[in-house]
């Protein structure tokens, strides 16, 4: 039995179908749900976290139905919405202790532990007002981890964070996954999903259009183009997986299925001819390309949320 299972999961609002017949299995992995704004990502997460009742279909999390046994589901999951809701007038420790108390956890050991895990131990007694965006997000993760959930739902966990902040969040998420946690994350940062997720699902207009590893999805678009420039003319290197497209003097262009595998072979072949590589370029199809090919360009279906827009701008500033 997978940790998350959905069958024909559907949500309609006043005739508008936000999520349409979602069939999905997620188990002990980082699963990324990718989609344009208004494609149904957040609606899906809200249904899985028992915050929204599905119109049709069903979903089971940790073996419990999200409607029939929602309280059971809530005992085993944690949900971090994208709003970054931490109490800025309280200290980091107070914010975490508040959740520990709501989960009925006694003593301060667990609180100290999760603050340590999220690298917040030395700032735990400062008011959250003084925390950076990245620290606030890590504080939310600490809150979410305090009861040792089996599944962690994260809605846009890196939105509005700087590069270092994003990287830290993903490192933590990957650590959790290594400890056996299932992580269900929505994002529209393709590069991050590509690097961190074990599998991704692409959702467009409420329908799941593809589910696979990021790598397999990229390969669906077909191969990569490798160009290499050498310091003197060389004979084209020929090997399995290297399809010569253009070879003229000091410039060789190949079409390959997997650059990571064949580029070393190519470089070795050039080196044996006594030439040196002056430039190498690999143009890989990115997840962005895959995404646009599969999901198309979808206009935001929902009403523009000014409050959220403003909050986002403020965090970026």
């Amino acid at each position: 039995m997978a940790t998350i299972e959905t069958t024909g999961l559907t949500k309609q609002y006043d005739g508008l179908t936000a999520v349409d017949g979602l069939d999905l299995e997620v188990d002990r992995e980082i699963f990324g749900l990718l989609g344009p704004n208004g494609s149904g990502k957040t609606t899906t997460v809200l249904m899985l976290t028992t915050l929204l009742r599905p119109t049709h279909g069903s979903a089971r999390v940790c073996g419990h139905d999200v409607v029939e046994r929602s309280a059971r589901v809530r005992e085993r999951i944690s949900f971090v919405p994208q709003d970054m809701a931490v109490d800025i007038k309280l200290t980091g420790r107070e914010n975490v202790r508040f959740y520990a108390e709501l989960y009925g956890i006694r003593g301060s050991d667990r609180v100290d532990e999760v603050l340590g895990v999220m690298d917040l131990a030395d700032r735990a007694d400062d008011l959250v007002r003084t925390y950076s965006g990245g620290m606030r997000r890590r504080l939310e993760l600490a809150q979410a981890l305090v009861h040792e959930p089996e599944v962690l739902f994260l809605d846009e966990p890196t939105i509005g964070l700087d590069v270092a902040g994003r990287q830290a969040i993903w490192t933590h998420i990957q650590d959790l996954r290594r400890r056996g946690m299932t992580i269900f994350v929505t994002t529209h940062y393709m590069d991050e999903a590509d690097r961190a997720c074990d599998r991704v699902g692409i959702i467009a207009r409420g329908r799941l259009v593809a589910v696979d590893t990021p790598r397999a999805l990229r390969h669906r678009l077909g191969g990569e183009r490798v160009s290499v420039v050498t310091d003197r003319p060389v004979e084209p290197v020929l090997a399995e997986g290297l399809h010569l497209v253009d070879g003229e003097g000091d410039r060789l262009v190949y079409h390959v299925d997997d650059a990571a595998e064949v580029v070393p072979v190519l470089l070795a072949g050039i080196a044996t001819q006594g030439a040196r590589v002056r430039g190498l370029e690999v143009q890989a199809p990115t997840l962005d390309d895959v995404f646009l090919a599969l999901a198309g360009r979808q206009d935001d279906g929902g009403a523009f949320d000014f409050q959220r827009f403003r909050t986002m701008l403020r965090r970026r500033g």
Binding site: T50, R74, S78, D83, A85, K89, L102, Y103
Partner: protein
């Protein structure tokens, strides 16, 4: 620890850390007490301060209670509510914690007003009166906070909430028996004041020192209070899943 208490303590901690909020809400009732209670030339009583103090206490609860819903609105807008709803603790605890917080905050403010009234020369507070005032103000606070949280659940943004609050609060106060007794009111005002729940609480406090004691009003207040809490929890359950 009980989840209601955990939510209550969170709000108390946040409130007491913001000194401006703590004092600013006291300014209006204090101003009423000083500028109206001491200054208004009245003929129907020789101690207007004693007459107006129960009204100002109820006004303090009215303001605190009606503003209280905004705390829930902000939890809703800023995403706290969704996080809380995804927790395994009983969801109603969120609402009851809010009602408790709004009421206790109002009672603390009312305490400051009572002390101020005594300092200004009010003579009506003997121990029984103080205890009874707390009971009535507490019930009235629960009634109002259940009402204001229900509005907060219903409206979508803070501006609408503030608008509803403004439309309700002041008219309720001015059409009550806070500022003058029924027999000096114009007939049309008397008609409104007699059915106004604000008058109900004020008359109840006054009846303690001026018999006959208004048992029926106490019963009505308790029933109203229970009905409003039931309605608010019903609305809470309906809007949250």
């Amino acid at each position: 620890m009980n989840a209601v208490l955990v939510y209550f303590l969170r709000d108390m901690r946040r409130w007491t850390r913001s000194h401006f909020n703590v004092y600013s809400t006291l300014i209006m009732p204090a101003a009423w007490l000083i500028f109206v209670g001491l200054a208004l030339p009245t003929r129907f009583t020789d101690n207007y301060l004693d007459f107006i103090v129960p009204g100002i206490l109820v006004l303090t609860m009215l303001t605190a209670g009606m503003q209280g819903g905004s705390s829930l609105i902000f939890d809703k807008i800023l995403g706290f509510l969704n996080k809380f709803l995804a927790l395994p603790s009983p969801r109603e605890a969120i609402l009851f914690g809010k009602i408790l917080f709004i009421t206790v905050r109002g009672l603390l403010q009312a305490t400051v007003i009572m002390v101020l009234a005594v300092l200004l020369g009010a003579t009506l507070f003997e121990p029984g009166m103080v205890l009874f005032s707390y009971l009535v103000l507490g019930l009235f606070g629960v009634l109002l906070s259940a009402f204001s949280t229900a509005i907060a659940l219903y409206v979508q943004d803070h501006d609408s909430y503030a608008a509803v609050n403004a439309v309700i609060s002041m008219p309720l106060f001015f059409t009550s028996s806070a500022l003058m007794p029924y027999d000096v009111m114009p007939a049309w005002l008397r008609a409104i004041a007699q059915v106004n729940p604000v008058s109900l609480a004020i008359d109840l406090i006054r009846s303690f020192s001026a018999p006959p004691f208004a048992w029926s009003s106490l019963v009505v207040l308790v029933v109203l209070c229970m009905a409003m809490v039931t309605f608010s929890s019903y609305l809470f359950r309906r809007t949250t899943i």
